[in-house]
Amino acid sequence: MSEDGETMVAATELGRLQRWMQAAVTDRAGITGGRSAGNPPGDVEEIVLPSASLTSGERLAIYARSYHARLLQCFATIFPSLLHALGRELFEAFALDYLHHHPPHSHTLDHLADAFPDHLAATRPDAGLPADRRETWPDFIIDLARLELVLLHVFNGDGVENATPPLPRDIASVPLHLVGRLVPAPAASSRVLRFGYPVHEYLRACRRGEMPTHPAARECSVVISRRNYRVLINEISPWHCAFLHEADGGRTVEELLQSLAAQGVEDPRGVHMLRDVLCEWASWCVLARV
């Protein structure tokens, strides 16, 4: 057999061993999970040597414990406020269930939990009930998870630090009658989110080291942006939220206002106030250009 052929055979055997070990290390059932891997190369005692003080299974279990502990610690780093809200036991149960259904595939841990809010929504205990008969606390938990995940993505994603976003004074100098001709484009680092709970206030309280309780429901909109590599969270009005959702960098302010009006979403304060709002958004680096 050629060397290439031998290497392929070796890779096949290696693959079989590695599939078994990965299953054994990552399965929620611990190392017994490896036995459920397809075509296992044998029992653990046949594959792993014991040491002077540990059995084969105990040696393998070091890796299994480490795998789960490491990823749970990553979850705790990504979702510190969610950890506070749920308590460690429930938080880890949710995280482990998620990891079982969504094992990591990327070399970066930034995307480890990308589907976690959706997973929480899909597995909420009252998922099968009509919306009006559901409990409210899962909504708060899901909102909080969404917020903390977005913060991570904004922190590590593209920002405007090496670009020249509009300055507040640039917008302030635009004559009022010309504001309608501006073409606002949100920065890649900006996110607009709607929540059923003031989760941003809850998160701030956690960061201050307080022990906040679950807040009362309150619909709110926030814009998350990044300025000089720091993440900003600001609450905005529902109308401004709709405006930013609509802004696509291709339509003028006038066209956006018309589009919103056609949807029945109107700002009673008019375009004059909008210039001040655009200035404020520019100060938060929400806009890439106008």
């Binding site: 031998e6 290497t7 055979v9 070796a10 096949t12 290696l14 693959g15 061993l17 590695q18 599939r19 070990m21 990965q22 290390v25 990552t26 046949e46 594959i47 792993v48 040597l49 040491s51 002077a52 003080s53 540990l54 084969s56 105990e58 040696r59 393998l60 070091i62 890796y63 414990r65 480490s66 795998y67 789960h68 502990a69 490491r70 610690q73 990553c74 780093t77 990504i78 094992p103 990591p104 595939h105 070399h107 970066t108 841990l109 930034d110 480890l112 991570l152 904004v154 922190f155 590590n156 994603g157 593209d158 920002g159 990044r226 300025r227 590599y229 720091r230 993440v231 900003l232 969270i233």
Partner: protein, 318 residues
């Protein structure tokens, strides 16, 4: 005649760059010889970590140390990962790029751990072939580290040092000798750490790692959470004499003290090499009581020889 290091320089005594020290480094610009980064912490970052790295790379030599190359996996090499790795290396002028002799996952998954290789002639050929591909892509010699490990496979036909020596020669790659890992694995598997170091070709060694660990009574876990113990210092000096000195880096990934304390620990390496005495404040091995070992080691830092979470902590504008 020993120094060769594939032409890589002796950088002196470096420190692993960790986010808790960013502020101090940017404020004080400490007199450190060089920094080592965890490649994956920066490859996909377009935010503060990457910005800090760029600034640091303007002033210090930087070496890239990866945890996700998965050189021993039976999965195909991840070309997207390699391209990103190369891009970062070029951007910051990395002096060299290293990773571990291990695998991290199969079937497209990753465990984010450094899993041990079965050590056979077949797996040796598999790894050598993949190192050559990686070196072709990166257009530079790869440097690979001996991992700490907690198990050995029944199918092993080679010792780890023997495997690594052959791998380095056949793939023409460099080696990062983690002296602490040699010690950890020697206790876990019952081999002679001095014989291990004697087997490693000294002219291939580009870098040393030093770190602390946790002795659980029945085994040692490579936790990178404390000072270097005396036995590891002794092995380090032995290894240094064989290589006539190469770049040395201290890893501290959990319970990280302030920057000055981490830097002081690696400077003990320099003092240790220049004197015959044990470095001041060198730590003694601390063992958990045997009956408490199982419990204690369930609760210790979980990184077990891998590296800390790559997830950055975001910061909110006040």
């Amino acid at each position: 005649m020993t120094p060769n290091r594939l032409g890589y320089p002796h950088l002196g005594f470096g420190v692993g760059l960790r986010s808790v020290h960013y502020e101090h480094i940017l404020r004080e610009w400490p007199a450190v010889d060089w920094f080592e980064i965890i490649s994956e912490n920066y490859m996909d970052s377009h935010g503060w970590p990457r910005h800090v790295l760029r600034r640091i790379a303007e002033r210090y030599p930087v070496v890239m140390h990866g945890v996700s190359l998965s050189i021993g996996s039976s999965d195909p090499l991840d070309m997207r990962y390699l391209t990103s790795l190369k891009q970062l290396a070029e951007e910051i002028g990395a002096v060299w790029v290293s990773d571990h002799l291990c695998w991290t996952g199969v079937l497209g998954r990753t465990t984010h751990d450094l899993l041990p290789m079965p050590l056979t002639g077949e797996t040796l050929r598999h790894v050598v072939e993949r190192i050559r591909i990686v070196q072709d892509v990166l257009e530079r010699p790869l440097v690979l580290e001996n991992p700490s490990s907690y198990l050995q496979f029944a199918c092993d036909t080679l010792g780890e040092a023997e495997f690594i020596a052959a791998m380095a020669q056949e793939a023409d790659c460099g080696l990062l000798l983690d002296v602490n890992n040699v010690y950890v694995s020697s206790v876990n598997h019952g081999f002679d750490p001095v014989a291990y170091i004697e087997t490693i070709p000294p002219e291939r060694i580009v870098q040393f790692h030093l770190a602390g660990h946790t002795h659980c009574g029945t085994h040692i876990i490579d936790t990178h959470d404390g000072p270097v113990i005396n036995r590891v210092w002794e092995l380090y000096r032995f290894a240094c004499r064989r290589t006539e000195g190469v770049a040395t880096l201290l890893e501290w990934d959990a319970k990280i003290p302030d920057f000055a304390a981490v830097h002081a620990e690696v400077l003990r390496a320099r003092d240790w090499l220049e004197s015959d005495s044990v470095p001041e404040s060198a730590a003694e091995e601390v063992r958990e009581p045997a009956d408490a070992a199982a419990h204690a080691c369930r609760g210790i830092d979980p990184f077990a020889g891998a590296h800390p979470p790559l997830v950055p902590v975001w910061s909110e504008d006040e």
